[in-house]
């Protein structure tokens, strides 16, 4: 239906002879993908705000309820879990920004022996799935005495190969002249980084930050393995108690809990949508 509307609109705007098939197809495709993406979310909202017997039945005037949210909230200490997740993603993002910025700056603008070998090693990190390293990481965290801390969840991800690569590519596109001008003004290497490179790479930081936060917000296996107590566990671990397949899944509660845990991310995305899309475009176009 929306596809029809879209093509009608296109047809009305231009004379019929110059009907823009390409554009109509694009619009139809975008709508189709958009609706496809949105369907599970609509289902989740429908199920979460209605009593259990309407989970698989559609009735326009079915009674509304918030009971599912209340049940989900009380089934696990979610307040604490939320705090932990926020601390976790903040710690990881801050660490990644500092480390990746410094490393990327070094790889982009300094020549030092072994730099290409080192950079190759960093790129190799992109090929290794973090899950393969779980045992090694566990042993390391144990050696550092960090098992069952939020720091232990985040530490393996702080030196991100992807972040270094992305920022290096961005820094490489910054015109040398800008750096030279700053140097003439008396800026040292750190001053140049802070005053020239970082401000120009803002869209990249924003785009990378979004990817990083959503990834670590959703991460499950590693946090489950390295933590043991309520004080350190993130929301995803709390969410997992609802997926008890032996007993059959209660869709009402699980959708309520899912909306609750993904809610902050969804709201943040809707609020900053324009900035995110623009930053992705700018980061990509450069």
């Amino acid at each position: 239906m929306s596809a029809l509307d879209a093509s009608n609109g296109a047809a009305a705007a231009a004379p019929p002879a110059r009907f823009d098939v390409d554009r109509a197809l694009n619009t139809a495709g975008a709508w189709a993908l958009g609706i496809l993406w949105f369907l599970p979310l609509i289902y989740a909202v429908w199920t979460a705000i209605h009593p259990g017997e309407f989970a698989t039945r559609f009735e326009l005037f079915a009674p509304l309820t918030v009971e599912n949210f209340v049940n989900a909230w009380t089934a696990a200490p979610f307040a604490r879990y939320f705090l932990n997740t926020v601390l976790l993603v903040t710690f990881i993002l801050a660490g990644q920004f500092v480390l990746c910025t410094l490393a990327a700056y070094a790889f982009a603008r300094f020549r030092f022996p072994g730099s290409s070998v080192l950079f190759t090693l960093v790129l190799l990190q992109l090929l290794v799935m973090p899950d393969i390293l779980i045992v090694e990481n566990y042993a390391t965290m144990r050696m550092l005495g960090l098992v069952d801390t939020i720091v232990a969840i985040g530490l393996p991800y702080v030196a991100s190969g992807f972040g270094i690569f992305l920022l290096r590519q961005t820094f490489m596109t910054v015109p040398k002249e800008l750096e030279e001008a700053a140097r003439v003004e008396g800026a040292g290497p750190i001053g140049v980084l802070w005053k020239v490179y970082v401000p120009l790479a803002k869209p990249t930081y924003l785009a990378y930050g979004l990817v990083s936060v959503s990834h670590h917000w959703n991460n499950f296996l590693w946090p489950l393995i390295i933590t043991n107590s309520v004080e350190t566990r993130p929301v995803t671990v709390g969410l997992s108690i609802f997926s008890a397949v032996d007993q059959g899944i209660d869709w009402s509660i699980i959708t309520a809990a899912t909306l609750m845990t993904s809610g902050p991310l969804l709201i943040a995305f809707l609020l900053f949508q324009r900035q995110f899309v623009q930053s992705f475009m700018r980061a990509g176009i450069k």
Binding site: A76, A139, L146, D148, T149, I225, S240, V245
Partner: protein, 428 residues
């Protein structure tokens, strides 16, 4: 920041416990447990642990929720390889061979000393011990154990003209009843299926019900041999496939586990096979009168057992091992086993637990709880071998290929047997 706070808390707790426990013998235990039946199970385990600690001031037990069964074995093995295993854990009984191969666990025989303790090992249902013993030694103590049963909708039976109090007792009856119960609307679309045997994820478990009823065992007790291509296994798989394709009493294709109770409540199926772990859920949510029965028989009655056992880990001090054994003895004692069974629907793993006053009151009020126990007499070990994850994956894939019609049952099972042989040869 948080780490500092945690460190501070840990130091405080250490100081406190040092002050409280006069003798320097306070034993710390870490205990990993999975949850497969909803939030209340976790709460009950934590309560039981707290009760034990309150009665035994010399022992501290940290009960750690470790996710699903799958997550728990991953977490435990990671911790063990990383050099910091828990002292005890509840893990799927079928992972026994994996844990032995990892050299992570120890037999209970090395810990027990008195005759009384030996009697304790013999107090459990033999059906549950099949998955807990190998090579003459006991590695696991049954705890959250289950078995599949048949649930039926009495109202649907009455509506179809069947006796609402009589579930199908044989394979033929299940097909016959199923045909009567399957309802179609004007366009020929099915509005109510006769039976539902879920097959997503781990189809082998319920399928093992069928093979056992067809009087065949699919793996040896030593865990180094499987018999997937036995003609009686092929026959059982053919029966399962025929339910959808020939008799048309079951929805075709892969059937979801998680959605099965809901489908039963909504009247999309008149019978379902699923675990006893669902009993409390069905009791609370079915909007109609329902019955619980043993699975139907063919050449004999039969069902697999399932669920988790207690394991004790090697890499601990002698005091910790002793304390672990004591805790397991306590939590598996009749009173605690009964409390756990009533709270979750799991089958209390020893006969004397069913003789406690609480349990008697419970079954008097809710007789279906007895069905699973009575079926234990006919139950066999759940499929368990060395390299268990790989072998069950091969078997599941073969079953799914046959259920979805990609392969003939005989062909799929012969291929699975050949693959399993290649893996298990090294262990013979």
């Amino acid at each position: 920041m948080t780490m500092l706070r945690k460190l501070g808390a840990a130091a405080g707790a250490a100081a406190l416990s040092a002050a409280l426990a006069a003798p320097a013998s306070a034993v710390d235990l870490q205990f990993f447990f999975p949850v497969a039946v909803g939030g209340k199970a976790a709460q009950t385990i934590e309560e039981l642990t707290a009760d034990y600690v309150a009665q035994n001031p010399g022992v501290n037990i940290e009960a750690v929720y470790a996710g699903s069964y799958q997550d728990t074995i991953t977490k435990t093995l990671t911790a063990a390889r990383g050099g910091e295993p828990p002292q005890l854990a509840v893990i799927l009984s079928v992972d026994m061979f994996t844990l032995i191969e990892e050299d992570a666990i120890m037999p209970f025989d090395d810990l027990i000393e008195t005759d009384e303790e030996r009697a304790w090992l013999d107090a459990f249902y033999p059906a549950f011990m099949e998955n807990s013993q190998t090579g003459g030694k006991t590695y696991g103590i049954p705890f959250q154990r289950s078995t599949p049963v048949l649930y039926w909708n009495k109202e649907a039976f009455a509506e179809a003209g069947l006796d609402p109090e009589t579930p199908p007792a044989t394979w033929e009856e299940m097909v016959e009843f199923g045909k009567t119960l399957t309802k179609r609307d004007g366009d020929g679309n099915v509005t109510q299926w006769g039976v539902r045997i879920p097959s997503s994820g781990f189809p082998y478990w319920l399928f093992q019900g069928l093979t056992t009823q067809n009087d065949v065992i699919i793996a040896s007790g030593d865990g180094d041999e499987t018999y997937f291509d036995d003609p009686r296994v092929v026959e059982a798989l053919q029966y399962l496939v025929d339910l959808s394709t020939v008799h048309e009493v079951m929805q075709p294709g892969i059937i979801e586990w998680g959605a099965t109770p809901k489908a039963f409540f909504e009247g999309q199926t008149a019978m379902m096979w699923t675990t006893t772990g669902n009993l409390t859920n069905v009791r609370n949510n079915a909007p109609f009168d329902f019955g619980v029965a043993m699975l139907p028989a063919n050449k004999r009655r039969g069902a697999p057992t399932g669920g988790g056992n207690f394991f004790i880990f090697k890499d601990s001090t002698d005091e910790q091992k002793e304390a672990s054994l004591d805790f397991i003895k306590w939590i598996s004692a009749p009173a605690q086993a009964a409390r756990w069974s009533i709270a979750t629907g799991y089958v209390a793993p020893r006969p004397d637990a069913w003789e406690t006053p609480e349990m008697k009151a419970y079954v008097a009020d809710f007789p279906p709880a007895l069905v699973a126990r009575d079926q234990l007499e006919f139950a066999v070990a759940e499929l368990s071998t060395y390299q268990n994850q790989r072998i069950t994956t091969i078997f599941n894939d073969a079953l799914e290929a046959a259920i979805t019609g990609q392969k003939e049952p005989a062909e799929a099972l012969a291929e699975a047997q050949a693959q399993a042989d290649r893996i298990l040869r090294a262990y013979r």
